[in-house]
Structure formats: structure tokens, C-alpha cells
């Protein structure tokens, strides 16, 4: 009996996830927080719009350099290394990880921007609780973006380190 109940719950959770319903545990809003959301509603919305535009600019700036580093440096170097029989498994693996991380960066950005747009279009005065839940989701997605940028930077550092190590083989 317990087992079937658990199965139903799991199936229900999977269906909700499939339908795009976020299962983020909503933190209840205190009275003071709710008042702050309603009072600062317009200012919060203005800040969110500014962040939305700035993030779009940052995405283009970073994305442009990520693309340039891949197409102007990493890929041609690996091709040339193969030609010279100096191919390094580490560098190829790094390239694959880099491509994956760049795709993830773009996908996470789209997901973050979708959530941010929904938040901007929500009524913070009418539904402060739901607005705050959505804000928390956006904060989580922004954190993921920050982690993605860090991951990209680490992969670039790793690539530079591997190229430096290559000098020892020449």
C-alpha cells in the first residue's frame, strides 16, 4: 500500500517536472517581506529590467570571446598538433569539455532569461508571495550562470596550462 502511494507520488512529480512545473520548495513570505515587496514593487521591477538588459550585453560579450577562443585558437591548434603527430589526449578532452560547457552556458542563459522575463511580467503588488517564489528561482538560475562562467574560465586556464606543458615535448 505504502509502496503504491510512493509510486504515485513519484509519477506525479515526474509529470509535474515534464510539464515544466518547478518543484522548488517555496519559502513562506514573512509579513515584513511581503510589505517590502509591495512597497518596493516599482523599484524592484526597474532593477530587474536593468539587469535583464545588462545580462544580455554580458552574454554577447562573453559568448563572443568563448566562440573566438574556440574557433581561432583551440580547434586550429588541435588540428595542427594532429598533423605534426603531437596530438595530446588532454587537449582534445579539454576541447570537448569546452564545447559542452559553452552549449550549457547558452542553454542556461535562455532558461534564466525566460524565468527573468516571467518575473518582470508578474504582478508584485497583487501576488507578492508568488512573485517572491519566482524571484528565488531566478536567483538560483543566476547562480548557475555564475558557475557556468567560472567553469568556462577554468577550462581556458586548463587549456593554457596544457599548451605550456606541450613545450616540454618539443
Amino acid at each position: 500500500m505504502k509502496r503504491s502511494g510512493l509510486t504515485i507520488c513519484v509519477v506525479f512529480a515526474v509529470v509535474l517536472q515534464f510539464l515544466g512545473v518547478d518543484l522548488v520548495s517555496a519559502v513562506e513570505l514573512t509579513g515584513e517581506q511581503s510589505t517590502a515587496v509591495i512597497t518596493h514593487c516599482d523599484a524592484i521591477k526597474e532593477d530587474l529590467r536593468k539587469v535583464q538588459k545588462e545580462d544580455s550585453r554580458v552574454r554577447v560579450y562573453l559568448g563572443g570571446y568563448y566562440e573566438a577562443i574556440l574557433t581561432k585558437f583551440i580547434t586550429p591548434l588541435n588540428v595542427r598538433l594532429v598533423e605534426n603527430n603531437l596530438s595530446s589526449a588532454g587537449l582534445v578532452e579539454n576541447q570537448n569539455k569546452y564545447v559542452e560547457a559553452r552549449t550549457l552556458f547558452v542553454n542556461d542563459f535562455v532558461s534564466y532569461q525566460q524565468a527573468l522575463e516571467e518575473l518582470v511580467n508578474m504582478g508584485c503588488k497583487e501576488e507578492p508571495g508568488e512573485f517572491y517564489d519566482k524571484l528565488q528561482l531566478v536567483q538560483q538560475k543566476r547562480k548557475i550562470m555564475s558557475q557556468d562562467v567560472l567553469k568556462m574560465r577554468n577550462l581556458i586556464s586548463e587549456h593554457v596550462k596544457l599548451v605550456n606543458n606541450l613545450k616540454g615535448r618539443l
Binding site: 519559502v27 513562506e28 513570505l29 514573512t30 509579513g31 515584513e32 517581506q33 511581503s34 517590502a36 512597497t39 518596493h40 523599484a43 524592484i44 532593477d47 530587474l48 539587469v51 538588459k53 544580455s56 550585453r57 554580458v58 554577447v60 562573453l62 570571446y65 573566438a68 577562443i69 574557433t71 581561432k72 585558437f73 586550429p76 591548434l77 588540428v79 595542427r80 598538433l81 598533423e83 605534426n84 547558452v106 542563459f109 535562455v110 532558461s111 532569461q113 525566460q114 507578492p128 508571495g129 517572491y132 524571484l135 531566478v138 536567483q139 543566476r142 547562480k143 550562470m145 555564475s146 562562467v149 574560465r153 581556458i156 593554457v160 599548451v163 605550456n164 606541450l166 613545450k167 618539443l170
Partner: protein, 130 residues
């Protein structure tokens, strides 16, 4: 009676078909535009597109982009690999890496924090849950 005759002249079968054709083409183009916009929005391409109003790059960005294109460097896919080649490679890639690092904290979490938006944290509150 006269009036009926005039009406018949205006809406001949050819004229009627022409009006229908015009209306049908407007409906079809409106529907296809709607579908295209829905795909553009739902695929997320809209968030990657900076040519939409309000997101266009400013003059400074355009100048930076032009400068970047002028200094275009691409590592050759063929040729011998020597110490000098690797040194040049590392020197050139550092230019792009430094440009990336000019953004100190991209997607800074604090920019959207509760405190920044003027919302007190739950432990600061009065404890009255809504």
C-alpha cells in the same frame, strides 16, 4: 432596380475572387508570422538576439567590436610546431583571456539578492508568515 445593377457591376465574379484572394493572403501571412514569432520566442532565440528594440548595442560596443575585428588573429591550422609558434600562440590567446577578465563578476549573484532589492531576509522579519 438601378442600384442593384450598379452593385452587380462592382462585384463581378473576377472581382469577388480577387477580394477573396487578398483576404486569404492576409490571413495566411498573419498566421505564418504568428507561428514564426511563437517559434522565435519559445526556442529561446529571442533571448540571444540583440537586434530587438531596447537591446541594440551602444556606440561604445560597436567601436570595440570594430577594433576587435581589425586585430583579427587566427592560429594557422597547418605548419610546423616550434617553441616560437607556441609562445606566439600563448601571447595571442592571452589577449582574449584578458578581455574576458575585464568583466569582474559576470552574473554577480548579489545584484539580484534580497538585500539589494530591498527585501529583508526571513530571519530579520517579524516571523509572521503570510
Amino acid at each position: 432596380m438601378k442600384h442593384k445593377k450598379v452593385k452587380k457591376r462592382i462585384f463581378t465574379s473576377g472581382g469577388k475572387n480577387l477580394v477573396l484572394l487578398g483576404l486569404a493572403s492576409i490571413v495566411i501571412s498573419a498566421a505564418t508570422t504568428g507561428v514564426s514569432l511563437a517559434i522565435y520566442h519559445n526556442s529561446g532565440d529571442i533571448y540571444l538576439d540583440r537586434s530587438r528594440p531596447g537591446y541594440l548595442p551602444d556606440e561604445k560596443e560597436i567601436e570595440e567590436e570594430n577594433d576587435k575585428q581589425e586585430e583579427e588573429y587566427v592560429f594557422e591550422k597547418s605548419g610546423k610546431i616550434t617553441m616560437d609558434v607556441i609562445d606566439e600562440y600563448l601571447e595571442k590567446i592571452q589577449v582574449d583571456v584578458r578581455a574576458l577578465d575585464t568583466y569582474e563578476k559576470p552574473f554577480d549573484e548579489n545584484l539580484l539578492s534580497d538585500e539589494r532589492l530591498g527585501i529583508p531576509s526571513s530571519d530579520e522579519g517579524d516571523g509572521n508568515s503570510m
